[in-house]
Structures are given as C-alpha cells and as structure tokens.
Symmetry: C2
Subunit: 757 residues, 2 copies
C-alpha cells in the first residue's frame, strides 16, 4: 500500500506549497518541506510549538528556531542547488508511515558528468528535541566537492525579528546557536553536529558553518549525518545549551540507524492506533492517511500547555494561534485514537482560563470569553482590523474577536466531549469544571432577556459563517450556549455527587453568582431557533430569510477584485443569503440526534447551494451530514476536497504580499470525521457504540482501531457486515448497535460479526 | 429694514442654488425660484405637498405639477432668454415680507436697442391653489414681440414620470392640463389664463401655449397677467377641472392687484405672529428672518395630513419625506408662533400611525415604529441601501431605516411638547394618546433586560450621529425612550382623571398589554447613560470611549474620494470618535433642566471638536447649548452657519449626478431656536415662562411675539431689561421668571418691565 507522497522535477513556483505538503514534525516542532540548501526566501521554518513573541508593534506570532539542517554543496567551485542549477532529475518524497523526508537530486555538470545528491531527515518522535539527517553524494566523474553545513540563524519571520542576542558558538565540534526572544526573554538554543566518514572538516564559528572539501571519486558514495537538537526556555531544563549539547552527543553515540529505528517504532505505534483502511478507493485511502499524518506530526503529546494552531506547525501564519478548530474539528480524531493528547488539548484551555477571564472583563462581561485567536496566555491575539480593504487599502473593522462568542461554548463542548467519551472525569476536578462554569457565566452575562417573548436571547454575535457579522440569535451559537448551560449543571451534579468536598471548594468563588440557579432559569427560558414549520429549514439567524437571494455564481460575477473580502461592512455576501461556511448544518451535525432526518435533509439541501466554502472547515461538514441523511455520494466530493487540501495546495497562499498558506489541521481532522463518523457511521457518547454506515458507492469497507473508554477495538465496516474485535486486554465490555438494530455486547477478546442492511 | 433677497447679473452656475434661495410657496405648493422661460433642465418645480408617486422600481417621491407660469418671448424672431441672450442687466429678487418673487431683465438687441422685461409672481396665501403673475415689457425701439405662454407639462422629476395620461385642453381661453399619477391614480389639474391689455392671442391646445404677436412701440410698457390654479385629487373636490377653471375665473375677476393685496395682508398677519427683531446685528437679523420665511412658505396650515419634508417644497430630494426634523427642529417655531399649524404637524403623525404599526410588525416588534422617511401613508420610504460606495459603485447597506428607533420617541416628544405647551389636550383624545402608547409599546418590545445589571437597555440602534450605526445604549436614544415611557404614563393619568370614559374606550385594545404596568416596570429599571464621574462626559454609546481618537483635520486627510461616505460599514469615521452631528449635546439641549451647567459645558467641550457637522441639523444645537452654558459667542458662528444655509447655498447640491440640494427647513427652525430659545433664552413648558438671556456680544436686543397658552405676548429682551407686553385680549395671566429671579405675573393688557443682570 502506498505511504509515500512524492513529486518529481523542480518547479520554483511549487516551493511554498511543497513546504507544507512535505512537512515533518513531532508536536514539539515542525519542519517545513523545504530543501537542505534553502533559506528564508524559500520559507524554511523550524516552528516551535507554544513559543510566541511580539516584535515592535507587529502582531505576536510563533518563534522559528535557527535551522540546524542547513547544508549547501559546491562542485568544482560551483554551487549545487536546484534553484540555480540544471537538474537531470529531482525528486522530493515523504514517507508518511514514519515521517521521513527524502530528496534526491541529480545535477548535470558542465563536463557531462552528474552528481547525485540525497538527503533524508526526520524529527524524532522518540526524542522531540532531535532532528537527524543522512546525506549522500555520488559523482560520475572525479571532482572537488565542498560541503558547507551547520546552522542557518537567519530565520524566516512574518513579523520578526524574534530572536535577539543571536550568539554563535561551538564546543567540541558542536555548533551552537543561541538567542533570546524579544518580548518574554525566552532563550532558544540549537546545537548541531555533522559526522563525516571522510575528509577533514573545518569549523567557522562566525558563520555557524563547518566546511569539508574533498576530492570525490567517481562512483563512490559519500555519506554523512547531521544531528540537531532544539531547546527553548519553555522546556523546563536548567541549562539549555548543556542540554542541547548532551542531546546531540547522545544522538551521535546511538547513530542514525538506531535513532531512525526507534523513531519508526514510535510511528508504528501511532499508526496502529489511528490508521484507517479504506477498501475500494485508493485515492481516498491515501488522502485520508495523509490527513491523519498531518495531525500526528503536530499533536502536542508532550505538553498540556500547548494546543494545535490553525496552520499546525507549518509556520507563523494566523499568528500560530489556536482557534475553535481544535475542539470542533480535531478533537474527535484524538478522542478516538489518542485520549492522552485529547486531554492535553483540553488542559490547554484550563491553563488559558485567566486570559479568557481577562477578555470577558475587557468587554464588561462576567466569566470567561475565550480568545478567538489563542496563544500562550489565552489573551486574544486577534486584532479588530483583520482584513485590508482592497479598494482603499485601509484596514477593515471586522468582528472576529468581539463577536464570535461561540468559542467559549466550543471549549465547553470539547471538554464535555472528552469527559463523556473517555469517562475521565478527572479533567473536571483538574480545572475543567471551572472552565465550564466560567463560560456559562459569560453567556449568562452576555444574554439578554426579551420581556415580550419571555425568553433569553443571544444578540450581536458572529456565528461560524463569518460573512454575516453581528447577527442576533444565530442558531448555531444559541444551540451551543444552551448546551453550555446544560453541561454546567450536569458537571455540577456530577461533582456534587461524586466529589462533594472538591465541589464545595471549587464552587466557593462562584457562590455570589450568577451560578447554577441562574443557569437553570436561563436554560428554562432560552431561545434556540427551531425548524420552520413549513419547509423545516432553521433560519441561520434572525432575519436571515429577508436577505437577498442570489445564486453563488451570480454573486461571483459581481466580484471586482479577486482578493476582495466577501464579509465585513460592505462585503458582497454580507447582504445576501450566501454563507462562508457550514453554520446551521454544522449545528445539525453536532446535535444530530436532536433532529429528524427530514430536518437535516431539508437544511442540507437549503444551505448547500448557498455555501461558498470560503473556509477549509466547511466541506467536511457537508460530507458528514450527507452521510447522516443517507446521501454519502452527495458528501463524497466534499470529503475528497477536504482530505486533499494539503496535497493539492489549492487553498489560498497569499493575500497581497502576506503569506497565509500552510497546512490545514482542521480540514485534516474533518476528513477523518467524514470518513469515520460520517461514512463508517461511528457514534459514541460514552455509553453505547452506534454504527450507522453510509458509505460512498465505491467503498467496500472501512477498517480502523478505536479506543473507547480505555478499551481497544478494531472495527471493520463492510457493506453488509460489521466486525468488531475487542482487545483481550480490555477491562470491560461495551454495547454495539449497528444501524439501529439490536444491542450486542462485546466482551474483552471477543469478535462480533453483525450483518446489517 | 431689509426684507429683500436679491441677486444681480445672470450666472448659469447659480440657477440651481437660486432655485432654492428664491423659492415661493404657500404650504400647498412650492415654486422654485426659477425664471419664467426655464424648463426642466433648470429644475423648475411646482411641488405639491403630500402627493407622492412611485414610477417603476424607482423610489417614491413627491409629484411636481405642470408649470402654469411658463412664458417665453421672441423679439424680431429671436428668443429672449437669459440663458442664450446677452443681458445688459438682470436682477432676481424676493420680497420675503410677502413672498413675492420678481425678476427684471434688460436684454440688448442687435440693433442697439434694449428690451426690459419684468415678471413678478406669488403663490397666494389666501387661496392656496392660486398662483398669479404680472409681467411687463418695454422696448427702446419698435420691434415685433411674440409672447408664448401657457402650461409647461414637461415636468422635472428625479424618478419620474409621475404624470400619466397627460391631457391638454382648453375652455373659454383657459388652458387646462390634466394628468393622473401612476401609482395611486390621483388626478392633477392645472388651469391657466393669461390676460393681455393689448394684441390678439391665439391658443394652441396641442402645446398648451397661447401666442400673442404684436408690434411693440418704443417706450410703451406692455403689461399682462397670468392666473394659474392647481388642484389634485387629494383636495376633496368633486370635479377637479371645474374647480380649477372656477378658481382661475374668480381670480381674473378680482384682478392682480386685489389678489396681491389679500395675499399681502395674510403675510402681514403671519409676520405679526412670528417676526423676530434683532437689534445690533443686521446680518443675523436678515438671516433669521429669511429662515422664518422659509418655514412660513412650507407650513401646512391647510391640512393635518401633511407635514414638512426635509427639503421643504423645494423639489423631490430625499423623496419629499418627513424626518425627525419636523418634531425636533421645526416644531418649536410653530408652537411659539402658530399653534394651529403645530397641531397639524402632530396630527400628521396620528394619521400615519398605521404605517408605523406596519413597520414595527415588519421587524417583529409591537406598537409603532415610525418611518425614518415618512410620506403619505407612514410606511417607510427609506431604503436599506441608501448610499453608493464611491470605490466600488455598489449600493451600501446602511441602517437609517431599521435602527434609528429614536424617531418614535421624537414623535412622542413632539406630541407631548405640543400638549404641554399649548394646553390643548384634545390632541390626546384625537389620536395622540394612541400614538404615544403605541410608541411606548414599541420600545418595550424593542428593549432587552440585562439580568446581570438588572436593567432594561436599548440595543442595536443608530442615534443622531449616523456615522456610528448599530450601537448599544445610545445616550440620546435611551433618554428619549425614558421620556416616552414617562409620557405614556402621564398621558394615561391625565385621560383617566379628565376623560375616564374616553380613556376606557381608547385603552380597550391596549389592555392585553404590554401597557402601563409594563411601562412602569421598565421605567423603574431603565438604563440611561449618565455623566462620567471623572470628567462629567456622557458616553455617546457603549464603548464609544474605546474608539480611535483622531483629530477631525487628521481624519479629513485620510479621505481618498471627496464624495466618500464617512459612515456605514467601512466608513472613515465609523471606527473613530468623530461624530456626524450633535448627539449627546442634542440630548442635553432637550433635557437642559436635568443636567448641571458643568455637565453641559463638559460635554459641549468634549464633543464639539469631535463633531463634523455633516448634517445641517448639527450647528444650531451647538449654538443652543453654548448659549445655555453662558458662552453665546462660542455659539454665534454656529447660529450664523445655520441661519445662512439657504442663502449661501453652500450645502451639498449633487452626489454624482443625483441632485440632493434644496432648502433646509430643519436648519431654518434651528436658527429660530438658537436665536429665541438660545440667545434670548425663552423657555416655556406650559407652566411658567422663563427668560434667561445669553446674547452674542453685538446683539442689543431681541424682540418677538409669542403665543403662550393661547395668549399673545410681545417680548423685548434687552441686555439689562426685559419688557413683556401681554395682549389685552388674553384670557389669563402667566408667570414670568427672568434669569432665575422672582416670579412676576403678567395680566392681560399689562406691560412688565424687568431688569436683570
């Protein structure tokens, strides 16, 4: 089976896209899929998870570390680089089975000879501070080769510089680059050692480069290795430089092959818990696997103070900020395959609660208003002027920061999903309950009571469809707020019953209120838009139905500038029913059991032609609900669009001269959701496991491992039969219900085969 | 004393401005200050009050009648017209004492001779359907003159045509033009008769023109007269054409001089009740008198189904619609000088209540939401896209219509002002109380209760400052809503006590509520923004203080296109503290006795540099409050700017190719308010009369007549002494308090002299 992404030939125009497509990473750092000789112009980046810096008046963004894998070659005095040299062949490939990046370039020499250059690298999944690479060179004629390799500390930044006091040092042949971030004065250290089996290297500390010149003999393959370690002041180590040196030395002692072996075993473990096998559709198979790969290389397995930014670790785009994407689009994958990482993601919200409380207070509300763009502290990195008006060049006031209040409900939804799914209620006593209650309190203070209609409403918000800002009673938002109130009460009930002392202690500061009685009162009189009695459509927000009805193609024909923003005050879509992304339909997916198939179908059919899919978060939701309403083939194109977003690179890369590309973890998670929760029809809420397959016509089966309440299961969903294999190590049984049929209990070690139609 | 506006010489570029500046009218119709030979290209208009039409998909606007004063001349075969011919002299003048328009043009002839042509006209204040003109011609050499005169039915329309089935007829030498409006099929008839003391006229029915050719003898003055009547189907007459003919015949029988005499006596009466005499400032004197003139020619003395449009009767601009301008800027003048017309203006709101109820229902509210742009039915003529974006040419969504909810409070304020001021409570039983209660009901349904702050708030509105749309708790709006609730309760109290049976009958439909108990409950917990404890400034709306602080001049330097709109979604001012027009300061003027001088001064000083005065309604308010805080000389430039707006014509005339000029009745009313209620310091709320003079330094005195509770008084406000002369016909006495001194009662026929300092 195919586990390799590859691209042949070199095309300068693809450098940026391939930087995302061929990414490697290990959750601690991401390394863009650039080539060894590339520098900042080619957007090389070693992006560190969770370390942010603000330079001058520019916005805060993640810090990129110096690039310890930097290597250039000269042959007979001429540089060997794909950018300047003619190549006979060039191939870049990524083995997603073990996150191993490889390039092979055959250069043509003026004397008619060729130079074959290969390099492979990985960011160790065993030691997250380590990157290792193996490089080879073979010429067809004798020539003089100069290898220059070391650390490139001239890093690419969107809004840099972030690394101040850049120091260049060496010790025992190890190159050491150190720096301190400008804002928080966090030290960063990168150490590098290159090991050659030939020639004599000389170190140039002033450039952080080592140079090795040798006479290459035709037909001989020369191999060398690089060992690079990266540390920052966030790692909690005493001496950063010592730690970096020690790590490199230890790696050298083990050697490349051993390190690679360990790394690969870690990756085998990962895949054994997450690979989804689709039979009958090789294209979908690969795209889905690739999507999972993208999630695995950025998962913060090591820290509960880091979550996943909207562009993963593929650079500094979107300020390296964490959005609702994590809870709503990525969390389900981790819940089913890696609950520990899922817990980390949720604990990140616990650790950033104070920032969310500061934001609520800033706007005059109670409780916690989570950041639309969250970084290390939870303060909002989102600006009030987020988009430039292409017609005037002026910054445009948008309401992402102030009005997307659903973010607090999304966080609560994520925490409760985690608790229910895993049964790990310790998240509540570890701070999760405070988050829930503070968010409920926020919504209580945000809500208004309509005395004539005798109900609480949520006014002046922006829902998922960002083209319609400042609307009242957005169906999605209100449904989520209602859920927040319910969860706040349920969490209190659980803790009161099971941890009465902890409950008393935790609720001490909440007692002045508003608290549970107010939440209950609000819940009892809370308005959530319901399906229209005539056509079953749920109005996206108050008066949405009065907006101009225009076909999407017609609206596109009104575009005057291809970069113009469709939302905001005067946006093309603002006054029409055209939406940026799934909104009501997303709500129907979250609460799929609260609505009839007829309602879901009516809304899918109503909103689908009106959705622009201006966000990569949108298509997967239409795939999911299409599967839910028994129309998987309607959903299949949306699934494929989602699953291939980082393979095709067809998303927007630049706005003006601002690079906004990168990977799309939410779409990656969305692809997984569409395949597993949509087409395979898996649904688990902590009690019974439901399987309601609704597969595209060419799919023969979907097979995958899942972790449910700590037990391991392997599911094989065929077109007529489902097989469930419970691990013998499971501690308890679970009930499975296939296509609404009878309940079947699956004991540890047992394999169930259930036919369905 | 000077009562004449005049302009010498002819300048084509001044035709539009002079059309406004030299307007005549009588409340039934307005006639722009154009010349006899002008046609639609020169924006000739006979604008009929209260008659509207909608042509195709264009917006509704007032109907212009055919022009019965149309006259052209030929001399020896060549046209005599200021547009094409060289003139030796030309003068256009308007006698504002009797609304008499006069032109005199001396044409130069190729033979060296001259032709002197004069025309004077008036729209009779005695018979509102009648226009009369007197024309003369005198040549220095014998020549052949052709006079063509009749009815020009090729009318100027912004969004026409409105006159369908145009018929041309004649009967007994009377030319008759009839037509029917397109939308409501209202007939319009214009009849014309010209009376010559010389020559022989021939009628050409097909052109509605009569022609008279004669040999003019040098030195002889030839005089002729035109009698024109105008009727529409709104007049309640049986046979329009008969009525028009009868009116013309009756006029001819009386003759020009008798008609003019009657007309002038009516005008004498008007001035005797309204003229304000300023000593020491001739410029201010004339400007103020001219402002009063502009109000008198458009006052609907004849009908309680018509109010005053924002551009008076000067054409079709702003759809001929009635705005809050009437209640807030014009009503005070009429209350003090012509309570009957003031009552008509308020009854217009009673008659349009159903439209206001329809508008409230359209938006899902209870009660009455008055039209932002009101025409005959009270349905809102305001469109959702009111301004074009100059950068894209696209219509821009604005919120004038949906969010300027203060209009309903302005109407209530006006009604209550009328009732309190005049003591004429019959307005309440004639429908005024229903208006008040429906408006209060509207606000009750518009308001939301904030459970945390335990108060009702008014969210998502646009206040007077239209550059900041969709704000929460606009101080002006909330103060007016509070007043509405108070008035609703007070009106009920009055009726319950004084007209219990009527009260029972009137409140029958209100009893389901929300009604008085709810109003009371809302009032007790209603939020009105208060002065900041530190600097006494009242925040214009929630979070106004967080907007960008930028100097007005700096903001102007950001302008990219001089026609760009500063408000709306992406407007230059939208995200700054710069306001279009008086907002908090207007509120302080309305409720001047509820705030200390320190608060008024602090807010004047805070908001004055931040106010762009992008509306002609703004400067007069700064003049009023400047007088109030004892700084009349700060206010004087604002007063003069207001009082001269229609004399200088310096307001905006065109947006693109759309004519938006016209007269400015709100500024006219504002000039009167600044002079009388501001500088002379008159304040009457139905009980005692207060006089707190605060005059600009060069003003020696202000003298004026006022009608207070049906009694006539003449006030002379000097710098040290005030004289109050009560008419001997007064039925009762009134108390006067000067500069907060002791109460002095003024009995009928008595003259009080009160010194003050």
């Amino acid at each position: 089976m195919n586990w390799t992404v590859e691209e042949s030939g070199f095309d300068l125009a693809r450098v940026t896209t391939n930087g995302n497509k061929f990414m490697i990473g290990n959750g601690y750092m991401g390394y863009r899929g650039t080539l060894e000789e590339f520098g900042k112009e080619q957007l090389v980046a070693v992006t560190l998870a969770g370390l942010y810096d603000k330079s001058g008046q520019q916005w805060r963004e993640p810090v990129n570390a110096p690039n310890g894998l930097f290597t250039t070659l000269l042959c007979d005095g001429e540089p060997l680089t794909v950018i300047e040299q003619e190549v006979i062949s060039h191939r870049q490939e990524l083995d997603i089975r073990s996150a191993l990046h490889r390039r092979e370039t055959v250069y043509k020499r003026p004397d008619g000879g060729t130079v074959t250059y290969t390099a492979e690298r990985f960011a160790s999944m065993d030691n997250l501070h380590l990157m290792v690479s193996k490089l080879t060179l073979c010429t067809t004629r004798d020539c003089t080769i100069v290898i220059q390799t070391g650390i490139d500390d001239d890093v690419w930044d969107i809004n840099g510089p972030h690394l101040n006091d850049l120091q260049k040092n060496s010790m025992d042949h190890i190159m050491i680059s150190t720096a301190i971030t400008g804002e928080l004065k966090v030290p960063v250290a990168v150490a590098e050692l290159a090991v050659f089996g030939f020639g004599e290297q000389s170190l140039d500390e002033s450039s952080l480069l080592r140079q090795l010149t040798f006479k290459a003999q035709a037909g001989v393959t020369y191999t060398w290795y690089k060992y690079v370690s990266v540390f920052s002041g966030l790692d909690g180590t005493e001496s950063l430089v010592n730690e970096a040196i020690t790590t490199v030395n230890a790696a050298v002692n083990l050697g490349y092959e051993v390190l690679l072996g360990t790394h690969q075993r870690k990756w085998e473990d990962k895949w054994s818990l997450s690979d989804v096998i689709i039979k009958g559709d090789q294209e979908a198979q690969f795209a889905l696997r690739y999507s999972i790969y993208q999630l695995l290389i950025i998962a913060p397995t090591h820290s509960e103070r880091v979550s996943i930014p909207a562009r993963g670790l593929s650079g500094q785009v979107y300020k390296g900020a964490v959005f609702w994407d994590t809870e709503m689009f990525m969390l389900p994958f981790f819940l089913h395959s890696d609950p520990v990482t899922a817990r980390n993601l949720m604990m990140y919200r616990v650790h950033t609660l104070e920032g969310a409380k500061r934001k609520a207070a800033e706007y005059g509300f109670l409780g916690a208003f989570y950041a639309w763009e969250s970084q290390d502290t939870g303060d909002d990195a989102c600006t009030l002027f987020n988009v430039n008006d292409v017609f005037t060049g002026r910054p445009m006031r948008t309401y992402f920061r102030d009005k997307q209040v659903h973010i607090s409900a999304d966080v609560v939804h994520g925490i409760w999903q985690y608790v229910q799914f895993t049964g790990d209620y310790s998240l509540l006593t570890d701070g999760g309950a405070e988050v829930i209650w503070e968010c409920a309190k926020f919504f209580y203070s945000y809500a208004y009571y309509n005395p004539v209609k005798a109900r609480y409403e949520i006014l002046d918000v922006t829902g998922p469809d960002e083209y319609h800002e400042r609307v009242n009673n957005n169906a999605f938002t209100n449904a989520l707020v209602k859920e927040t109130l319910e969860i706040a009460i349920q969490a209190a009930d659980y803790l009161r019953t099971n941890h009465p002392a902890a409950f008393e202690a935790m609720t001490d500061t909440f007692k002045e209120g508003p608290f549970l009685p107010e939440f209950q009162e609000m819940l009892e009189h809370f308005y959530v838009p319901q399906p229209n009695t005539e056509n079953l459509v749920i109005e996206q927000f108050d008066r949405y139905f009065t907006l101009e009805e225009v076909a999407l193609t017609d609206l596109k024909s009104r575009v005057l500038n291809k970069h113009e923003y469709w939302g905001g005050g005067n946006g093309l879509a603002t006054t029409t029913t055209i939406l940026k992304q799934a909104d009501v339909v997303l709500m129907l997916n979250l609460f799929k059991h609260s609505f009839s198939q007829e309602v879901k179908k009516a809304n899918w059919e109503f909103y689908e032609p009106r959705t622009e899919h201006g966000s990569s978060l949108s298509p997967c939701i239409y795939a999911l609900v299409a599967a839910d309403i028994g129309a998987p083939d309607w959903g299949y194109p949306y699934f494929m669009r989602t699953a291939t977003v980082d393979l095709t690179g067809e998303s927007k890369q630049y706005v003006g001269d601002l690079y906004i590309g990168g990977t799309h973890p939410a779409a990656n998670g969305g692809a997984w959701m569409a395949a597993v929760l949509g087409f395979a029809g898996l649904y688990f809420n902590g009690e019974d496991v439901h399987l309601n397959p609704s597969m595209p016509k060419q799919w023969e089966s979907v097979e995958l491992p899942v972790v449910l309440r700590g037990g391991n299961y392997r599911l094989h969903v065929g077109r007529e039969e489902i097989t469930i294999q419970a691990s013998a190590d499971n501690k308890s049984a679970l009930n499975f219900i296939v296509s609404g049929g009878q309940v079947e209990m699956c004991q540890p070690g047992v394999q169930l085969q259930i036919r369905y139609s």
